[in-house]
């Protein structure tokens, strides 16, 4: 559980430090004109960005716990590491490119370059779908080679972790589909900008999660 503790420790410490800084040196019982002028919002940001940040903390918690469970369970003597298919390297490249493509699309949306939105979104979506299909093929290769989930827990972890990551990708694709449909039906860059920016953050996050998971799977 050390890994989870470190992750959650960092998240909790960040939250508590931030909150303490907001709450130290105030005397709430004194009615201060400076306080009266405060707009109410705690951050110079919008609600969706704040909500996504909070969701990323939740998702980090999920993956940190999976990783903790993995490291605890692999200590048992029955653990038989599996040979990860080389296809996973290609999938990783696809996901990196998807992330880069999304960033490229984001830059277009921020700078109002309307004509780059459609190709950008198509490319990001296609590469992500390619990644997911690649993961499914990797599953098939593994089960064809006899690495069933009930044969050894290392196999089970492989399927479970990739599935958990894939489910998060699918959630991202749903938002991607919404902004893509909007752009196709003639939405201006400004109206989809926030959605594309947040998706970019989410894609980078899931790329990071995948690199951590893949590294862990390869090294154990």
């Amino acid at each position: 559980m050390y890994i989870t503790l470190i992750f959650l420790g960092i998240i909790m410490a960040t939250i508590i430090t931030w909150l303490l800084r907001q709450t130290l040196n105030t005397q709430p019982w004194v009615s201060e004109p400076a306080d009266d002028a405060v707009s109410g919002a705690s951050m110079d940001s919008n609600s969706k960005t704040v909500a996504l940040t909070a969701f990323l903390a939740v998702a980090t918690s999920v993956f940190a716990l999976f990783i903790s469970a993995y490291t605890i369970r692999m200590e048992e003597p029955d653990w038989r590491p599996l040979a990860e298919p080389t296809l996973l390297w290609a999938n990783t490249v696809a996901l990196i490119l998807a992330s880069v493509a999304y960033h490229w699309t984001r830059n277009a949306a921020v700078n109002g370059i309307q004509e780059r939105l459609k190709p950008g979104l198509m490319l990001s979506g296609a590469l992500t779908i390619l990644f997911l299909l690649g993961q499914i093929v990797a599953w098939q290769q593994l089960s064809a080679a006899g690495y069933y989930a009930d044969r050894n827990v290392a196999n089970a972890f492989f399927y479970m972790l990739t599935a958990a990551h894939g489910m998060h990708m699918l959630g991202g694709l749903w938002v991607w589909a919404r902004s893509t449909i909007k752009v196709w039906t003639g939405a201006e860059a400004d109206s989809v900008r926030l959605s594309i920016e947040l998706c970019t953050v989410y894609w980078h996050f899931l790329l990071l999660v995948w690199i951590v998971l893949f590294g862990m799977l390869l090294s154990t």
């Binding site: 559980m1 989870t4 503790l5 959650l8 420790g9 998240i11 909790m12 410490a13 939250i15 508590i16 909150l19 303490l20 907001q22 709450t23 105030t26 005397q27 709430p28 019982w29 004194v30 009615s31 004109p33 306080d35 009266d36 002028a37 405060v38 707009s39 109410g40 919002a41 705690s42 951050m43 940001s45 919008n46 609600s47 704040v50 909500a51 909070a54 969701f55 903390a57 939740v58 918690s61 999920v62 716990l65 999976f66 469970a69 605890i72 369970r73 048992e76 003597p77 029955d78 653990w79 989930a149 009930d150 827990v153 089970a156 479970m160 958990a164």
Partner: protein
Amino acid sequence: MAYVSIADRDHEVEHHDDPQTFITKYVWSQDHKVIAIQYGALAIAIGLVGMLMSSVFRLQLGFPDTFEFINPENYYQFVTVHGMIMVVYLLTALFLGGFGNYLIPLMCGSRDMVFPFMNMLSVWVFGLSVLILVASFFVPGGATGAGWTLYPPHAISPGTPGTEWGIVLMLASLGVFIVAFTMGGLNYVTTILQARCKGMTLMRMPLSIWGIFVATILGLLAFPALLVAAIMMLLDKLIGTSFFMPAVIQAGELTTNVGGSPVLFQHLFWFFGHPEVYIVALPAFGLVSDLLSTHARKNIFGYRMMVWAILAIGGLSFIVWAHHMYVSGMNPYFGFFFATTTLIIAVPTALKVYNWVLTLWQGNIHLRAPMLFAIGFIFTFTHGGLTGLFLGNVTIDLPLSDTYFVVAHFHMVMGVSPVLVLFGAIYHWYPKMTGRMYNETIAKWHFWLTFLGAYALYLPMHYIGFLGVPRRYFAMGDTAFMPDSAVTLNAAMTVSALVVAASQLLFFYNIFVSLKKGEKADPNPWKATTLEWQTPDNPPKHGNWGHDLPEVHRWAYDYSVPGYKDDFIPQNVPASEAPAGRDHGVSH
């Protein structure tokens, strides 16, 4: 009164976006107040089921071999589902889904949650999780009887009730609940952070909001542990993986499982399970602070300390989980570590208790029903907290862990205590939610029967725990550690439990009859300072504030400020109209 300044403008306001049909107004509503009541009604309805189950298994414990309809199977099923319902589906859902939804936008001065659609989705997904839970009683084999902690291997091994479908539905229901909670939780956090009205700094927020806020953060970070554990156990059950399942000999044959770690499940479960205690306790701390301050006509003692204590408890709650696992065996240094952190958490908690008592000190105490429940909470919580200090020590926990002492401890500290706060809070906000007053006399009867009944139930339970009577058993039989006194006490405890259960009828009678027949409530019957009492309409309409959002000019605790015409100054009264306490040289 101050709310008039907003109420005056009411006639100018047109409610363009008011939902019109029954369906959009009460079913698929996106109004946080309706969603709050939906959450609350669902939670209380399933909580009632949980309470009836406890009455049934108390009958068995008090009068063994008397009732034929209770057998070991349904005894274990009821014990299990009772625990899960009370902790997750009643307390978590009612505090955060119910009061979180109702109070956050109103107390922060917002029109609604920032994502109303997701909020609506949250309550219906919660409804689905309740439905799945209830369905588990009607599948082959019935609901799971593994104990609310659902420990493997027995939770999914033949011999335990509900290992066919019951456990699958229980885990699925928990997964669905977590999805619902996450949707709600993201809303609560974002609304508190971003949608407060002008002038509402973090340190001007009422403590109710602080408690709900930090509890939601804990929930968002801790529920994933339960989700991960549930997914892995489902895979063990459904496709035969060995995450938690060790090699077991069943009916003389070795199962296909090998090497699984039941202790890993315990780590995951309690990594959720301990913060869960505070997910329930922190909102209770917040709500009770506001009840005490309002009904004692006095500012809360040590507001800043109260906020920091909530933060400290929230942080510490993540590093104490293994104190639930002393009996599972662990490195002595770990035991020392977890005992130390557990005892440290008593420091901020005790600070809060002192501050509540000091809030009452020299207050102008009005012993209305909400205040009775709030003061009752101080008793039961102190009581349950002190026995927690016993159990936090490894050497004392080991002999007591499997006895009724533990049952008595956690029921006092996270059963009775938060439930008392919930009742107090429901009575307190009832006039705002419904626009009617409840019947004070019936509410007081409800308090005394519940409070004294709970003590009559749980005080003797500590004693039989000390005698060594083990928990979890269907029947004790004729054993040396069950002296006659313990048998008699068990019967008396059952009678108390039934009296407490029956006295809840008073509560339901009161809130349902008062809906129609209650006296019409003043918009601010308790003369409270917080924003929800200053709404232009009572109960508030969709959008809460009419034309203009309120502006906040002071903290939530300006009670009995000398020199002002009333003994309370609402948060939206400017300093020019009424100086804050300190400006008048009043020391808080």
